[in-house]
Subunit: 693 residues, 2 copies
């Protein structure tokens, strides 16, 4: 088994410097070329040169109003009491001194006759007859010259600069270009980007939907993400079919791509695993510049340059490495092509796109790298980073109690849903080893700041109803529900720290049989808190289809032949389990798998579905979702714990309204094991101040 | 001549309410429908429903590292001094108690064998032989269960919410959808928008480029701007060919458009002019809701609904007004279609798009109206607004001396270049009659705030070299040159008010023969100012080709047969003219056209080119630009006046560097009448503090 074990750890800036240097040496650290496109196709493209006006606009003196063209000097005597009459004409010879004071009807945009120098609005005239009985207009105020006249060149004068180079064209720019005599515009050519997914374990989403997926098979979607990124950044992506892990096959795909693409993204095969061919392929076809960058996620990035020449044989393009070139053919050398080995984990792949592809495509559009909107936020949890790496931490962002908070979400490089949910990203610099809770950090935002102002942060226990709430809120309002699952107790702690607007909680007080109240009094002393019941629900054993081990009660948790999966400390479900086991005198040591902690009901169900656990305590809906069986053990109440100040806020109004919405209630009731009868029951938890003295 | 003179003035919110009401009544104030598109085509589209996971991701327990799958319990005894050996296996039967401690090589993504529950990284192992001589690994630390395992559903659990409805899809979202078992996604159908330009005076940009334009002809480009807007806002535009001003022809075009478009934009013909057919066409085919909205620019907006039914005859679609419907045909009624009469002036047209089209298209995408980034800025000049109208004022925005400033730019509805140059727009509410200089206003930005931070504001005299500077800066740096032409003196006043970073000035001191110094001392007392010469240049009479009136010297300004055009008060060119005329004893009253003021050299040249003036004082390059002749009269020096604090700033560095750049100097020298030998000459103007006492 031959494996390369260590990747080189090159800091991000050095990696970029090496690549930029190689690109510059190849003449590729600048836009790749210019093409002329018609204005109808130019929206969003970037000007490759400055554009100068060919025509003036307007290109003649034009009436700016509906009215009459006149000579200002003919109106000097006009006053309210001494009106002047101007005779309507079609043509007028200003050299023949006819004594006539002419006026010619003009509409907006009509050319001003050569003899005229002003326009009177039709509203300021009365139709009359002049002293010879000819049609005329009467005016009762004098006009200055050039009144209501759009002078030639008022907008743009021929030869004036209309747009500079490197300007990304917006709708109004197209108007200015057409108005100044252009029909087409020179723009930078769009780079062609080949995206090659490699890996014998990969299958397409279409194949997965048709044939199902087997363990070990992975649905290939990085190429979809990378292609959409390339498209958003002004490139033209080409998605290759999946290439199996065979050196020759990958090499051939890269050669073919290099023949007519400006950049090659070779996905996966860049870990140190046995399928790692990317580095060898790059070495075999050109120069391997960087193998491994000190960033997380994204570590095993590969940067290189492919040296290709293109050999034309009739209509067919063949590409060869210089060393294997056969001389008799006509040879057209093509420039070296940059190649990026993109890590296989989806979060690493997407971030590698942002870090390495976007700045290059921006450069090829004559633009600086994208600068996201940023804001400063307070980190709610400690982040521990690998020393020596720049660490890109996904965060959820929200405003609570006047503070902007950044809460780290999943660090896993395989968790694409964490990028979907992320509001932004925080870069923890290398050698800082992380950042403490309470640190002010700069968040590079993934969504507009105003959306964050409309975010409702719910932290605490997980319930599937929260997903429905999120969906209904998105459809019915501009509010966005951002939830984090840390268990009921974690939610109360988050409220105490002012890190959430509300918490989901189902903490049973064994002494009173009441839910939540005593724990709230303990954790949130002296605060006015409103408890709003979201839903009643069933808890029980989630077991495989057919309940093969025949679980029936709490005591089964201690059976030596039953492998359990548990929830994390502080979860209401765990409190319930501990309470019931305690009543039976069962200790944690007696429960196999007590230490295996999952953070959601669905994760518990997933553990059972995969066969690694025989049972776990959870809600019926989670069992049903994964087509498992369910042994009901208890009814419980799931509440929303809301500080009064947020309960009365506009921010939460749409959420609270939903609890009384028939459609929402119907949707919740349709989920198995849910009881909507208590939904919306509200009571203020009376909270005497604790005596601190 | 029958003309409708007055338009109704309906306030913006009432106009919108009327239209929204009619749209809601027709069931059109909501997304128009749903279509399912493949993930490869879904980037940027908006989800029409919530999307739930079909598969868990991962759908099996997967190794998260390259290494070996093991049982954690087999490693409990391992320490640095007491290594444990695990035997390499391919298969293992956990029920047969063989005493074997198994390990299986796995790579990242491989499924965990059913008997295993943890993964040890390859870096933490050594290859050895076990006690029977079989291949094994040695480990020197114990492993917890589930180490380096991506548990089934770690990313997403089947049935979990992946994305809510009304979510605009980004690249990573496509990955999450594919990873959770989707190949396509239901998105809102893109609305089809017909854009119909009307006007017998209109010609296409292509015709203009081929055949030239005659006075009275106008290049049609509003449809280009509106189509690009519609595209950016998620619609599918169809540009109609230009429709002449004929009632029946316009009516036919609208009927055809209504047959298969969701929205009709009927451009121009919406002023009160004689070509005003839009209102009548709307009335003839449906309901005219609003005729004239109290906004500027954009006043003559028309809002209405077309009542159509579609009559199918074989393959041909015919559209009829209900009244003219012939009963024997099979009839498919189609919903009413909203129609918007878009004003003809380009700025009005573009703003009408922003005000009326964008919010409707947003609604049809399930989104709230676009919320631009805003900032608060201080208005540098008084704005007078028409009472009763909401006034949308285009502004240039920049940061000078720590203040963010909004400077109103051209108010003309025909000046599309003003929208090109605008950094944002300020809404002056109706009945406020305007806003004073110094007022804090909210600017809706047209460009990212960070671009504004990189803006260099130059206010003062106009010179064509500034256009070249803008072009080179855009190509060579991230700086943006924003210039306003207010004459030399106006520039110094702007510096005094801290409204610009530098000013262009060529103010001759008649007593010393020096440029700028004495006036700077007068206007900017006590300030450290650096004077940097931009260029030397020729001033003279700009005259028609062949100099038909034979102008040769300053005295010709007073000839009774010569019609002049002048520059505005405070312009260096005007100072020069006044100085030279004064030396000859010529008074303004003796100069015909002395009172006709233009703000730039090119505008003076345009006046001469159009034949409305025989001559004007200006620079040779302006004469050459419009192919006019030039009678040289004087050499002068054009300086950049820069407060020392900005002269030394990073902001201006790229601009000052350009003055010593060979390419830039060559480009300036190529313009006629320019002398680059003094370019970049720099001297600090010594400025004794004025005695205010």
């Amino acid at each position: 088994m031959e494996r390369k074990i260590y990747l080189e750890d090159i800091p991000l800036d050095e990696a970029w410097a090496a690549w930029r240097g190689a690109l510059a040496a190849a003449g590729l650290w600048r836009p790749l070329g210019v093409e002329k496109v018609s204005l109808a196709e130019a929206n969003g493209r970037t000007t490759a040169t400055a554009i100068w006006a060919r025509l003036s606009s307007p290109h003649y003196h034009a009436s700016a109003m509906d009215g009459f063209a006149v000579r200002a000097q003919d109106t000097h005597a006009a006053t309210e009491t001494n009106p002047v009459h101007l005779t309507l004409v079609e043509d007028f010879d200003s050299n023949a001194d006819s004594g006539l004071h002419p006026a010619k009807a003009v509409n907006t945009g009509h050319p001003l006759p050569a003899w005229a120098n002003s326009v009177v609005m039709i509203e300021h005239t009365q139709p009359v007859a002049d002293e010879h009985g000819r049609a005329a207009i009467e005016i009762r105020a004098s006009l200055p010259p050039w009144q209501h006249v759009r002078a030639m060149g008022e907008d743009m004068v021929a030869t004036e600069l209309v747009l500079p180079a490197n300007h990304t064209l917006r709708p109004v720019d197209l108007g200015a270009l057409a108005g100044s005599g252009h029909t087409a515009v020179p723009v930078y050519r769009r780079p062609r980007v080949a995206i090659i997914p490699t890996g014998s374990e990969l299958i397409t989403a279409e194949d997965a939907a048709r044939d199902g997926v087997r363990p070990g098979q992975i649905i290939e979607y990085n190429s979809l993400v990378l292609a959409a990124q390339v498209e958003n950044w002004g490139g033209q992506p080409t998605r290759w079919p999946i290439v199996p892990d065979e050196f020759e096959t990958i090499q051939t795909a890269v050669r073919e791509a290099a023949a007519n693409h400006d950049l090659i993204l070779l996905n996966a095969g860049s870990s140190a695993g046995s399928e790692d061919y990317t580095a060898h392929v790059v070495q075999s076809l050109g120069t391997l510049l960087v193998h491994g960058v000190a960033v997380r996620p994204g570590h095993p990035v590969i940067l290189g340059m492919i040296d290709t020449v293109t050999r034309w044989q009739g209509d067919k393009v063949q590409v060869d490495h210089p060393l294997t070139l056969s001389p008799p053919h006509p040879v057209t050398p093509s420039p070296p092509r940059p190649i990026l080995g993109v890590p296989g984990y989806p979060v690493s792949a997407a971030l590698t796109g942002e870090i390495f592809v976007e700045p290059l495509l921006a450069r090829w559009r004559g633009q600086p790298p994208y600068q996201p909107q940023t804001l400063t936020a307070v980190l709610t949890r400690k982040v521990v980073s690998h020393t020596g790496d720049d660490d890109f931490v996904r965060v959820a962002v929200g405003n609570v109690g006047g503070r902007t908070l950044a809460t780290p979400i999943s660090r896993g490089a395989g968790v694409i849903s964490s990028l979907v949910r992320a509001d932004g990203i925080v870069r923890i610099p290398r050698f800082s080893e992380g950042a403490d809770a309470g640190t002010a950090v700069t968040v590079h935002l993934y969504r507009p700041a105003h959306e964050i102002e409309n975010s409702i942060l719910v932290i605490g226990s997980h319930d599937l109803t929260l997903d429905l709430l999120a969906q209904f809120l998105a459809e019915r309002s501009n509010r966005r529900l951002v939830s984090a699952n840390v268990g009921s107790l974690g939610g109360l702690v988050a409220l105490r720290r002012s890190e959430a607007h509300l918490a989901g909680s189902h903490l049973l007080d064994p002494e009173t049989g009441e839910y939540n109240v005593s724990t709230i009094r303990q954790y949130l002393p002296g605060q006015a808190i409103v408890l709003v019941t979201l839903v009643g629900r069933e808890q029980g054993w989630i077991v495989p289809k057919g309940n093969p081990k025949g679980l029936s009660g709490w005591a089964d948790a201690a059976r030596p032949d039953v492998q359990m999966v548990n929830r994390q400390r502080g979860a209401g479900t765990r409190v319930l389990l501990d309470y019931e086991l305690g009543k039976l005198g069962i200790t944690p040591e007696q429960v196999r798998g007590y230490g295996r902690e999952e953070y959601t009901h669905l994760a518990v169900a997933a553990a059972v579905a995969s066969g690694t656990a025989d049972a776990g305590l959870g809600i019926r809906a989670a069992a049903r979702a994964l087509e498992l069986d369910f042994v009901p053990l208890a009814h419980e109440q799931y509440d929303l714990v809301i500080p009064q100040v947020y309960f009365e806020s506009d921010l939460l109004r749409p959420l609270l309204d939903l609890l009384h919405d028939a459609d929402f209630r119907t949707a919740v009731a349709a989920m198995p094991g849910y009881d909507i009868s208590p939904m919306g029951h509200t009571h203020l938890v009376a909270l005497p101040l604790m005596d601190d003295a």
